[in-house]
């Protein structure tokens, strides 16, 4: 007689929501094989392949680059491709859609508000006057690159919004990633668009709604540090406000 060692398993409690059937999400338990090298996303893919093909979630690259697979794992926003099962032993692991966003279905959230805010801060290089191509490229020193490089690493995964209690309470708030992105262009030596951006960035719905909880930077998988971007923008905004009383001041301080 042969005995097969019982396969080690782990339980996932997944928030399910079917927009045409449900009034609110309910939790469904799934038992999946436990593998040392599996991440939560692997477990979700296993469930979709083996148990329930209707389980709905976003994912793409599996390597922390695309920013699609962010979810709440045990109440904390994280990329599920970077959330190892072994860090949640013995389970169960609770999986929910990203907090702070309307749920389309199961673990998929509606992105519209974030996308609208993203374009509102004009995240591109603005020139007062474009230089003719014949004059060559806009040159930049490594130091000038360092001024904004960190803020340019954002992958729009929206984990920072799900970690931000200000955004959960007040959806007018522009929010961490978008404000960091605005700083990415404001600090770019090739850019001349600070005035256009700061009308929004320096407003109440911009940096001044931030109460500096700081969790946006903690959960950021790319170390963008949106909390730092916002606090430094507050300092710039304050200095700009004082400078606006000076008889001679930079144009960027007139708003």
């Amino acid at each position: 007689m042969t005995t097969v060692a019982a396969e080690r398993t782990i339980v996932l409690e997944i928030a399910r929501y079917h927009p045409e059937r449900d009034t609110q999400p309910t939790y469904e338990r799934f038992e999946v094989p436990y593998r040392e090298e599996w991440v939560v996303l692997d477990a979700l893919n296993y469930i979709k392949d083996e148990d329930d093909g209707s389980l709905t979630y976003r994912w793409s690259c599996r390597m922390g680059v695309c920013g699609s697979c962010g979810m709440m794992v045990n109440g904390v926003p994280i990329l599920t491709c970077a959330a190892f099962l072994r860090d949640y032993l013995p389970g169960p692991i609770q999986i929910e859609a990203l907090a702070g966003f309307p749920v389309e279905r199961d673990l998929v959230v509606k992105l519209d508000d974030f996308i609208d805010k993203l374009s509102a801060v004009k995240p591109w290089i603005i020139r007062e006057e474009e230089r003719p191509l014949a004059d060559g490229e806009y040159r930049q020193s490594p130091g000038q690159l360092a001024d904004f490089k960190q803020f340019s690493m954002c992958i729009n995964c929206m984990l920072c919004y799900s970690a931000c209690p200000v955004y959960q309470q007040n959806q007018e708030f522009i929010g961490p990633a978008v404000l960091a992105l605005a700083q990415r262009y404001n600090h770019d030596s090739r850019d001349e668009g600070n005035d256009q951006r700061n009308a929004l960035v320096w407003s109440d719905e911009g940096i001044w709604d931030c109460t500096f909880v700081g969790e946006c930077s903690t959960v950021c998988p790319k170390h963008v540090d949106p909390a730092g971007a916002i606090q430094s923008a507050k300092l710039e905004s304050t200095l700009g406000w004082f400078a606006s009383f000076l008889p001679v001041g930079g144009k960027r301080n007139q708003d």
């Binding site: 927009p19 609110q24 749920v103 959960q168 109460t211 969790e215 540090d225 730092g228 507050k234």
Partner: protein, 127 residues
């Protein structure tokens, strides 16, 4: 017709996780600092009223309730101060060449300035 489930928020969100609880304690520290300032202002007022009023107020300050409050206010003042200096490198980014000055150095310099200023004030009081 698909109807997305609206995002939910709770009025006691800050109890959910430790980073949020610490944030609320940091915010709450301002209340205790303000109460301490009120006690100081009452002290100044009692001094102005004369010796008897001042002595009565001093007796109140020696009561267990007043000492208890001062200990709690001290703890909150320290939390407020430490978290304030921890935040310095978030607001001030100093670039030298291609590198940024280390956050720990910025915090350290500010902490030293704080300890130095406190030492001077204590020295003045003891003199």
């Amino acid at each position: 017709m698909a109807k997305p489930y609206p995002s939910q928020h709770s009025n006691i969100w800050y109890l959910r996780r430790w980073p949020y609880r610490l944030f609320m304690l940091r915010e709450l520290s301002a209340v205790f600092l303000a109460l301490y300032v009120v006690l100081m202002l009452i002290l100044v007022s009692r001094v102005h009223e004369g010796e008897a009023a001042y002595e009565t107020y001093r007796d109140f300050l020696k009561s267990p309730v007043a000492i208890g409050f001062h200990l709690i206010a001290l703890a909150f003042a320290l939390l407020h101060t430490l978290t304030w200096f921890q935040a310095v490198p978030k607001a001030i980014r100093v670039r030298r060449g291609e590198e940024f000055v280390s956050p720990q150095l910025l915090i350290g310099v500010h902490m030293l300035a704080w300890l130095g200023t406190s030492a001077v004030i204590i020295a003045i009081f003891l003199a």
